[in-house]
């Protein structure tokens, strides 16, 4: 390839990359811009990228209009519990799935794939009826139960990849040295697995924090609802939404998962791919 064509290929690549950057970034920048605009600018027919008179009024108004703190607390409780419980019960099973090629492990892997294909409506109607009989509708506990099960397939998927990354020889060496099975698990496997377990828990946290459909169906009253559901209350009747507070609340609701995701991004993609590519 001549120097000249190589250079023009490079230039083309940079132009393409720039287009991607703009496409990925512009809606988010617009959300931020809208969140900081005072009411008159939001009503203007010629909106600008940079707020002319930036203000925090929208944030204040957002908290006044909807129980955002309460909703954030609900989301936090649901997502934290779901993340913790999910890894607590998934890790042992993932260990078995990774170390023993048993029929159960095969079935579980198959179920992980199939469960990705459920239309949730087929799951939510019976769950709704069951939770109703248990008087768990409109409670966070009902939602947490659903989130745990819903997070399990992916948690197993990721954890199996992490367990496989821990060499079985290490465990066997410990066994040869006379360590019992439990001892081996606790003192050899667990420390090596810990970062993967944390990443899985955080990922389950993020998906639960972001989840909407189950929360919409299972939580009825505003004081029980999670953040994504409460956000939709800002939309109001068609076209009647209050843009400023809507943008402000939406922006705030994104921050936790965005920050967490940035922190564990490499591990998530690594774990996901360990499951997806090797399987």
């Amino acid at each position: 390839m001549s120097m000249r064509t190589r250079r023009s290929v490079r230039a083309g690549q940079y132009v393409a990359l720039l287009c991607y950057l703009v496409f990925l970034a512009f809606p988010f920048l617009w959300l931020i811009s809208t969140a900081f605009k005072p009411a008159p600018e939001l009503g203007s027919l010629h909106p600008t990228w940079i707020p002319q008179h930036p203000t925090l009024d929208n944030f204040r108004q957002a908290f006044d209009e909807q129980p955002l703190l309460r909703a954030a607390a609900n989301s936090l409780i649901a997502a934290l519990s779901a993340g913790l419980i999910a890894v607590l019960i998934a890790t042992p099973m993932a260990y078995v799935m990774a170390r023993h090629r048993t029929r159960l492990a095969t079935a579980a892997t198959g179920w992980v794939v199939v469960s990705q294909a459920f239309p949730f409506v087929l799951l939510i109607i019976p769950l709704f009826l069951v939770l109703k009989n248990l008087h768990l509708i409109n409670t966070l506990w009902g939602l947490i139960m659903v989130y745990v099960v819903w997070a399990l397939p992916f948690a197993l998927w990721m954890l199996v990849g992490y367990v496989r990354a821990v060499p079985a020889e290490l465990e066997e060496a410990a066994a040869v040295d006379g360590a019992g099975r439990l001892r081996t698990l606790v003192s050899v496997t667990a420390p090596l697995l810990a970062p993967g377990i944390v990443a899985t828990a955080l990922f389950a946290f993020i998906t639960a924090w972001n989840e909407f459909f189950f929360a919409l169906v299972l939580l009825k009253t505003p004081e029980k609802q999670t953040l994504p559901v409460v956000l939709t209350h800002f939309l109001g009747a068609e076209g009647a939404s209050d843009l400023g507070p809507l943008a402000a609340a939406a922006f705030l609701a994104t921050l936790p998962s965005l920050v967490l995701f940035a922190v564990i991004q490499r591990r998530i993609t690594g774990g996901m791919l360990a499951g997806a590519v090797k399987n």
Partner: protein
């Protein structure tokens, strides 16, 4: 089950005590919730499809056989929403794949702004779907949105009411679907690319193969299994999606963006027709199973990686 006691032969040299009881003890905490809250409800849901179950009724639920399915067969609105679901799923999945492949190829090159693209690609992935929907409503807003303002600035007219226009609503939500799902696909494809041995590329280049030939003979075969899996999963996820369109248009205008999930949700939780909505879910599963079967067959043919 015998499996717990019989690990793979040759793996037991360390004398690991594989007692069945111990294994079950490890599996049960996850298996029980799965069976009780996932497999069980799924079967229950399928059973409901053959009943006249409704919410808030005093009379007992009765078996009605295939009546719900017969009704579905004649429910023009459902099939219309099914058609919209397919258009949406294809309309999102295909551009998503093409754009993601392009981005993955770019990120695989040694470019300067790579880190920024990687960082930005996190945003659509980490955002709650509800927020993605709200964000794009702000973009599409006819007066205060940036899209129409840009169109006005470029002198291309006054812009439109994108999300409420009969002709523009579905394309408008499809764009959002593409945007929100692109990162996952990009990451998966990028991993496939990074597994491609670099020497193969160089050898092909030395042999005088052009960029397209190199892509076809070296890159594509290497990423084909990943590409196939992610495309099939994307199709399924997209076909089943709910939150994004619920927030963007809630199925409007005039049902033009009413995806099957939105239809089933309304039927179940607005009109209380649990049995009928469950039947819709069954039909959706049936169609998806066919697609999943095709995907698995393709994977079995394409990859010896198991």
């Amino acid at each position: 089950m015998r499996s717990g006691r019989h690990g793979p032969p040759g793996k037991r040299t360390g004398g690991r005590p594989d007692q069945g009881v111990g294994t079950w003890f490890l599996i049960l905490p996850a298996l029980l919730p799965i069976l009780v809250l996932s497999v069980g409800p799924l079967l229950y849901g399928i059973a409901l499809a053959f009943t006249d179950a409704q919410s808030g009724r005093t009379r007992a639920t009765q078996w009605t056989g295939t009546l719900n399915f017969q009704d579905l067969l004649h429910d023009g609105l459902f099939w219309e929403s099914f058609r919209i679901g397919l258009v949406w799923a294809v309309g999102v999945t295909v551009p998503q794949f093409v754009l993601a492949l392009g981005l993955a190829l770019l990120l695989n090159e040694n470019l300067r702004m790579r880190w920024l693209a990687r960082a930005l690609a996190i945003i659509p992935w980490a955002m709650p779907e509800v927020v993605v929907g709200i964000m794009w409503r702000l973009v599409y807003n006819p007066d205060a949105g940036i899209l129409n303002e840009t169109i006005r600035d470029l002198g291309l007219g006054d812009g439109r009411d994108w999300l409420t226009g009969l002709a523009t609503a579905l394309p408008a939500v499809i764009v959002v679907g593409v945007w929100s799902g692109m990162p996952q696909t990009t990451v998966a494809l990028l991993a496939g690319l990074q597994n491609t041995p670099h020497e193969l590329h160089e050898a092909a280049a030395l042999d005088g193969a052009g960029a397209w030939r190199r892509f076809r003979t070296v890159t594509w075969p290497a990423i084909r299994p990943v590409a196939l899996s992610i495309t099939a999963l994307n199709f399924i996820w997209n076909f089943n999606s709910f939150a994004l369109v619920y927030v963007l248009t809630n199925g409007g205008p005039g049902g033009r963006t009413r995806l099957p999930m939105l239809f089933a949700y309304e039927e179940a939780f607005r009109y209380g027709q649990f049995g009928y909505a469950a039947a819709m879910g069954c039909v959706m599963v049936a169609v998806i199973s066919v697609i999943l079967a095709v995907y698995l067959a393709g994977r079995l043919r394409g990859g010896e990686d198991r």
